[in-house]
Amino acid sequence: MLKTPVLPFWVLVGFFAFLAFFIKRGRRVDNIRKISGLEALSEAVGRATEMGRPVFYTPGVGEVMVGASSVSTMAAVEILSYVASLTAKYEVDLIVGVSKGDTYAISDATVKQAYAAASKPDAYNPDMVRYYASGYLAACVGEFQRQQPSTILLFGHYTGEIVFLAEAAAQTGAITIGGMERFNQLPMMVASCDHTLVGEEMYVAGAYLSGNTVKLNCVRVQDLWKLAALVLFVAGSVLATFGNTYLVKLFK
C-alpha cells in the first residue's frame, strides 16, 4: 500500500511521533545556543524606538500556498508576529512589504493579531501591511530610501533579488537582519546584512524568541535527529569503506 521508496514515509512518521512524545513529556529545555541574529532583533526594534524611525519588515517573495516556499514563509510570519508585538509595545511604526496575495492575507492577519494581543488594537492600521505584487523589489528599495527605517528585517524565501534588496537595505545605514533557508541565495544575504539566520536557524527562531517549552522541545527533537543523521552517514561511509553498502542502498 505504501509507495516506494518507503523510507521517507517512516522517517516522517517517526519524526512526528518523536515531536508528539517530547511535547507531551514537556521537559524544560535549557542550554540553547545563542543565535546572534535573534538576540539583535529586540535591540534593533529598540533602536527604532530611540530614533523614532520605522521598522521595515518583509516576509520575502514566497507564497504560503506554494510548496517550495510555504514553510519558510510561515517561519517568517512567526518572526513577524514577534516583531509586531514589539513595535506595538514600543509604539514604533511598522511597515510590512509583501509581494504575494496569500502572504499578504496571512501577514496582515498576523500583524492585526499581534497588536490586539499587545492590547493596542487601535494602533493597528491596515496600511501597515503593503501589497506590492510583482513591483515588490522596486517598491521595497524605494521605501528604504524614502522612509529611512532604522531597522530592516528580511526573512523568508528569496530568489535573485536578495542581492539588491539586502544591499539597498544596508546602504541606508539601517540595522539589517536577514534569514532564509535557500542555500544558493544565502551568501548574498550574508554579504550585506548585519546578521543572517542561516537555514535551520530561521525555523528555530519562533521557539527561541518565545522561549515556549513546547516549541523548544521541537528544537530538541530536531537536534536529536540531526545527531542521528550524522551518525548514520558517518556509519554508512565507514561501512562503505569496507565494502558493505547496506546503508547506502537503504537511503538511495
Binding site: 496575495g101 496569500d102 550585506s192
Partner: protein, 205 residues
C-alpha cells in the same frame, strides 16, 4: 470553537495531502487532486483580496491628499486599465500586452540589470579580511571570480580546475549540511503549523 474548528478542519486536509504522497489509495488520490485545485482558487482569491486592499489604500491616499498621493493616481490608472483589459479582453488584449512589454518588463529588466552594481557594493564592503572566516570568504570569492573569467587561466592554467573542486567538494558539503538541518527544521515547523502550535495569524480572540 472559533479557533478550534478551522484548525481541526485544516489539519485533516493537511494530513490527507501528506498521506497521499506516500500511500497508494485511489480515494485519497482523488481527494488530494481536488484539494490541489483548491490551492489555485484560494490563492487567486487571496490575490483579489490583496488587490482590493491595494486599491483601497491608494484611493484613500488620493482622497486624503496624503504624502505622495500624486503618484497613486498613475498607479490606480494603470492598475485599473491593466486588470480591466485582462478581465474583459483576456491576457492577449493589446493594451494588456503593451503595458506589460513597455512598462512592466523594462523596469523589471532594469532592476535585474542593476544587481551587478549592488553586488559590487556588497563585495566592496563585505569581503574584508577581518578574521579567519572572513578571509576564507574573501579568498574563495576571488579564486572563483578569477577562475570563471578569462583572467584566471592567463594567470595559471589550474584556476578553472580549482574552481570546479571548490564547487564539487566544500560547496556541496556545506550545502548538504545546511539542507539536512533545514529540512528537519521545516518538518518540525510543518508539524507545529499543522497541529496548531504555531498559529500567530489566528491566535487570541
Amino acid at each position: 470553537m472559533r479557533r478550534e474548528a478551522p484548525l481541526i478542519l485544516s489539519s485533516v486536509i493537511g494530513i490527507v495531502v501528506i498521506l497521499e504522497a506516500f500511500v497508494q489509495v485511489p480515494l485519497l488520490t482523488t481527494i488530494a487532486k481536488e484539494l490541489m485545485d483548491w490551492v489555485v482558487i484560494l490563492s487567486a482569491a487571496a490575490l483579489c483580496l490583496a488587490s482590493v486592499h491595494l486599491m483601497r489604500t491608494h484611493i484613500m491616499k488620493v482622497s486624503r491628499r496624503s504624502s505622495l498621493w500624486l503618484y497613486s493616481v498613475p498607479l490606480l490608472v494603470v492598475f485599473i486599465v491593466m486588470s480591466g483589459a485582462g478581465l474583459f479582453g483576456g491576457t492577449k488584449a493589446p493594451v494588456f500586452t503593451w503595458l506589460f512589454d513597455r512598462v512592466y518588463a523594462p523596469v523589471d529588466a532594469s532592476l535585474y540589470g542593476m544587481y551587478a552594481f549592488f553586488l559590487l557594493s556588497a563585495c566592496f564592503r563585505a569581503f574584508r579580511a577581518k578574521n579567519l572566516l572572513a578571509t576564507a570568504l574573501l579568498v574563495t570569492g576571488i579564486v572563483v571570480m578569477l577562475g570563471r573569467s578569462a583572467l584566471g587561466p592567463m594567470l595559471h592554467h589550474q584556476f578553472p580546475t580549482a574552481v570546479e573542486w571548490i564547487f564539487d567538494i566544500p560547496n556541496t558539503a556545506a550545502n548538504r549540511g545546511v539542507l539536512i538541518g533545514a529540512t528537519l527544521g521545516l518538518m518540525s515547523a510543518s508539524f507545529r503549523l499543522l497541529v496548531g502550535i504555531d498559529r500567530s495569524y489566528m491566535a487570541g480572540e
